[in-house]
Amino acid sequence: MKSYVLITGAAGGLGKAFAAECASRGWDLFLTDTTESSLSILAEGITRLSNVTVLYSPCNLADPTARERFWEAIRAQGLQFHFLINVAGLDVEGPFAERSTEELGAIIRLNIESVVSMTRMILQHRDPTRSLRIINVSSLAGFNPMPVKAVYAASKRFLLDFSLALHRELRESDVTVTALCPAGMPTNLPVIKAIERQGIMGRATTRNVGYVAVRTIDRALAGRAVYIPGAINLALRYLSAVVPRSVVTAFLSRRWSSARKQYRHEELALKGGGVFARPIG
């Protein structure tokens, strides 16, 4: 019986790279994202790239009823999975006081609720004959509190802790959970502009999504709990572990506010995609 790799947020920059990488490894795919047309175009392209089966189903994963329908359809088709890659996530950048409760709630619903729910559901639909691999896209932001990205960074912290705990807890059931913690990721043009605005640090901490996808899957297959792409990012993570959190927070606050000053003068390109703009990392 066929068994699939389920990728959420598949039509975004990182999702597309994961899809292409999994297909090149000969794995059959099940893709989801919010827009049906993007999924059908991508599925067609991936099928041409590599001779695998690519199924898809659009779903607004932030909506519990939509998730229920999504899994009902999967149950009806009797599909099973050996891999789950939770890429879907969102960030609404900007000062906390300027964000509406709806915007803030949307971050929590997609970044936290949907990942917990998808992870729980995949256990019920796993391929019993194979190991189950789960990748959660956390962020380097998950290691530190981040002013101006408070809710986003906290949601990524949740994913990091959640993944580490589950990685341990589910070990006996042949399940591994890997938290991917990248810094900036150049997933599309607005995000690339935002990275360039951060200057040399932005460029130095940034890794191509293709590179990240290839290595993350290698790490997941090796059963690693956390993957931080890039040596500088790894160093930053350990540096932030020995410096008091209040000091790191103050430093990040300075860095983000200077990046934002520049940002205000330019077009708010990042918000071009509305609430569903992709996260920086």
């Binding site: 597309k16 175009i41 041409r48 999504v209 996808a213």
Partner: protein, 301 residues
């Protein structure tokens, strides 16, 4: 009657990436020579600007611009359909196709089809658009497919195990490979076209040209590098001369030669003439552009 005669005699050219640089210079030169020009560009504003400028500069010029993102196969097919419609008044005949559009990107970016952007825009788009235009080019009697390559295609090879550079993306390597693919494609197209088709393909090395190609998708040091580099480049008008020569000369000094620089034939890399390489790229391109179905297909759930 007069109108009919005029349209049946004029020659038509389709130029991609025609809103700036070499593409715009070629559009201007060919429009001045009485060609009907159909230009394609990614941004509507730049298309309007280029169209307006050419119409104002050249009295009586027949110039139309169409908007298409060549990183999307859907948009390439839509562009081809619109061109087909527009060509109906010329009995569905196309004389010259100039595959000029090209980009440089510092970062690995995937198109909506899931393909690496430089490979998709610089190479695969040329392949697909040429396939779509072939029936119309065959009606010309003496048609030319001109694809812009680069001297950077020498000393490089196809990265068959990962043509999309997913693992270890390097801007310049990806660029060079896409330009090599253009030469290989041109050679294979000529090998496949029967002499009676009246269609001949040429790859052009424009030399180092003073255009903004390296500054649109880059920043920082890479952008600085391209900016310094372009200063020693020739003006786009001079680079377009080879295109104009190949498009308009009724008899070329060596019609069989597939690679041209400064209006003269030149030997492309030996690698680009290897039959196994030509065959392999062609078959891969047919698959990637959906012209040939894989034995086992996917589908929606």
């Amino acid at each position: 009657m007069m109108e009919e005669q005029r349209t049946s005699l004029r020659r038509t050219v389709v130029i991609t990436g025609a809103t700036s640089g070499i593409g715009l210079a070629a559009a201007r030169a060919l429009a001045s020579k009485g060609y009907r020009v159909i230009g394609a560009g990614r941004l509507p504003s730049r298309c309007r600007e280029a169209e307006g400028a050419l119409r104002a500069e050249i009295p009586g010029a027949v110039v139309d611009y169409l908007v298409a993102d060549l990183g999307s196969q859907r948009e390439i097919r839509a562009l081809a359909a619109t061109i087909r419609e527009r060509l109906e008044e010329d009995n569905g005949r196309l004389d010259v196709l100039v595959n000029n559009a090209g980009i440089v990107s510092t970062w690995y970016l995937a198109t909506e089809d899931g393909y690496e952007t430089q490979f998709a825009v610089n190479y695969l788009a040329s392949f697909l658009l040429t396939q779509e235009m072939l029936p119309m080019l065959r009606k010309s009697g003496s048609a030319r497919v001109i694809t812009i390559s680069s001297g950077s295609h020498y000393r490089t090879r196809m990265r068959w195990h990962d043509v999309m550079f997913r693992n270890g993306y390097n801007c310049l390597s990806a660029y060079k490979q896409s330009k090599l693919a253009n030469v290989i494609f041109t050679n294979e197209l000529n090998r496949r076209l029967e002499p009676s088709s009246g269609v001949r393909a040429y790859a052009v090395d424009p030399g180092l040209v003073d255009t903004a190609i390296g500054e649109k998708g880059t920043a920082g040091i890479a952008r600085w590098f391209w900016r310094i580099r372009r200063r020693s480049g020739i003006p786009p008008e001079q680079a377009a001369e080879t295109i104009v020569h190949l498009a308009t000369s009724p008899m070329l000094e060596d019609p069989e030669a597939s690679y041209w620089k400064e209006c003269r034939p030149k030997r492309p890399s030996r690698y680009a003439e290897r039959e196994d390489v030509m065959q392999r790229l062609w078959e891969m391109s047919e698959r990637l552009s959906g012209l040939v179905r894989s034995p086992q297909g996917g589908g929606a759930s």
